[in-house]
Amino acid sequence: MITGSIAAIGAGLAAIGAGLGIGRIGGSAMDGIARQPEAASKIQTAMLIAAAFVEAVALFAVVVALMGNG
């Protein structure tokens, strides 16, 4: 018998989404850096900003899950 809140499933789904998103951003940034190593620092900044946006969405989900739980 599994007990607990369905909010945990929500948090898990949010983690999957963010994982896919950040994975894609990181992978593309790697691609970009491999093609153009001299632009590495610019790509890194853009990557961090994009990752922050993706992460924010996931964290919204986590906050909602926490509220649903509490």
């Binding site: 620092s41 900044t45 961090l48 900003i49 924010a56 906050v63 509490g70």
Partner: protein
């Protein structure tokens, strides 16, 4: 952006020092956790076992919440002042008068009014106690129904805010004095420690996003960057000057985001407002475009607020949950695992502390830059 100079020789060293620091104190706090857990095991044998189920969620949320007294170690507390605005005027007393009661069982009477504290909120006490000895009326979800006075107390977060203001003032007045007395010479001491980071904010955050008018906004960007960074770091230190979860408090991040919002709105030029109210699209598109753009003015700072709050809160909950594994498994052999993970997450949190300060500042600069951009 070329942030390599910061990453290479300043932050790296910093991160190493703070990681060791954090590692040491995580180990000590985990050791305390271990002692507590042994205590729990003994008492669990004495009492019925079913009652002793450990609730990670409650524990973690309690530890990241604001508090009226500052728990130092064991039974040592710093009692912070309670300041209440009531119809009978301002009432103040020490939070120690509640005897660290958090279940509304101890009544404090001042100026003919009676107060109780329940879950770090202060209520007007009921005349008689309920069946559990609590001077509040509860609804079926155990939330108090009593009225609350306006609470202006110096809580743990307010106290940390004051501490961080003092630290920031000491550090940056010192640095500023250095530039005045040694004008044109190479930096020295604290100044050379801070200069690369200040230059990082100027060259990599302000200049690319704000263009040639960046100087007007440098004071704000530097303030917000160092305020967030210092407080993120203070939040990671689990003992006295740190320990409060200031940047993980949504009220604090709301004020920071509101500052960005007002700066954006008040500095927006005619092109910015034209872009919102009269974009270059066919008129019938306005029905959709204008509400969306108007909504966008508010969602940007709201996203800033939630991002910082959720990132820091999630980090704290993660570290606390890992420490809690000891309690959950009720075994001291799990302690090395939870310490190892907590140190690892702690090291990542140091990076997150910097990245979140950076993201907040660069997005603020981006929004302000969008508002002041000249038409071309």
């Amino acid at each position: 952006m070329d942030c390599s100079h910061v990453f290479e020789f300043k932050v790296n060293r910093l991160i190493v020092v703070f990681t060791l620091f954090l590692a040491f104190f995580t180990v000590t706090s985990a050791a305390f956790a271990q002692v507590d857990s042994l205590g729990t095991t003994e008492s669990a044998h004495a009492e019925t076992k079913a009652e002793k189920k450990f609730d990670i969620g409650k524990f973690a949320l309690h530890h990241i919440a604001d508090s009226h007294s500052w728990h130092v170690i064991g039974d040592v507390y710093i009692n912070l002042p309670v300041i209440l605005y009531t119809p009978a005027g301002i009432v103040n007393f020490s939070s120690g008068d509640f005897n660290h009661d958090d279940e509304a069982t101890v009544v404090v009477e001042r100026k003919g009014q009676r107060f109780v504290k329940m879950h770090e909120k202060i209520y007007y006490a009921s005349d008689v106690a309920n069946a559990h000895g609590q001077y509040v009326e509860l609804d079926d979800k155990h939330h108090a129904l009593n009225k609350r006075p306006l609470d202006l107390s110096i809580t743990k977060n307010v106290c940390t805010l004051i501490i961080s203001i003092v630290i920031l003032l000491v550090v940056f007045l010192n640095v500023a004095r250095g530039y005045k007395t040694r004008k044109g010479k190479s930096p020295k001491g604290l100044q050379s420690w801070m200069e690369p980071i200040i230059l990082f904010v100027r060259d990599d955050i302000a200049k690319p996003n704000l263009g040639h008018k960046y100087e007007r906004f440098m004071p704000y960007l530097l303030t917000v960057f160092f305020f967030i960074w210092f407080n993120n770091m203070l939040g990671l230190v689990p003992f006295l000057p740190g320990g409060a979860n200031l940047t993980g408090n949504i009220a604090v991040t709301m004020i920071l985001a509101a500052a960005t919002f007002f700066i954006t709105v008040f500095n927006g030029n005619k092109y910015y407002w034209k872009h919102i109210f009269m974009p270059d699209v066919p008129w019938w598109m306005y029905i959709v475009m204008v509400p969306v753009e108007l909504f966008g003015i508010f969602t940007k700072p709201i996203a800033l607020m939630i991002r910082l709050f959720a990132n820091i809160t999630a980090g704290h909950i993660l570290v606390l949950s890992l420490i809690c594994l000891v309690f959950v498994f009720n075994s001291m052999y799990i302690a090395p695992v939870s310490i190892a993970f907590a140190v690892f997450i702690g090291a990542i949190e140091l990076l997150v502390a910097f990245i979140q300060a950076f993201i907040f500042t660069i997005l603020s600069a981006l929004f302000i830059g969008m508002a002041i951009e000249e038409h071309h």
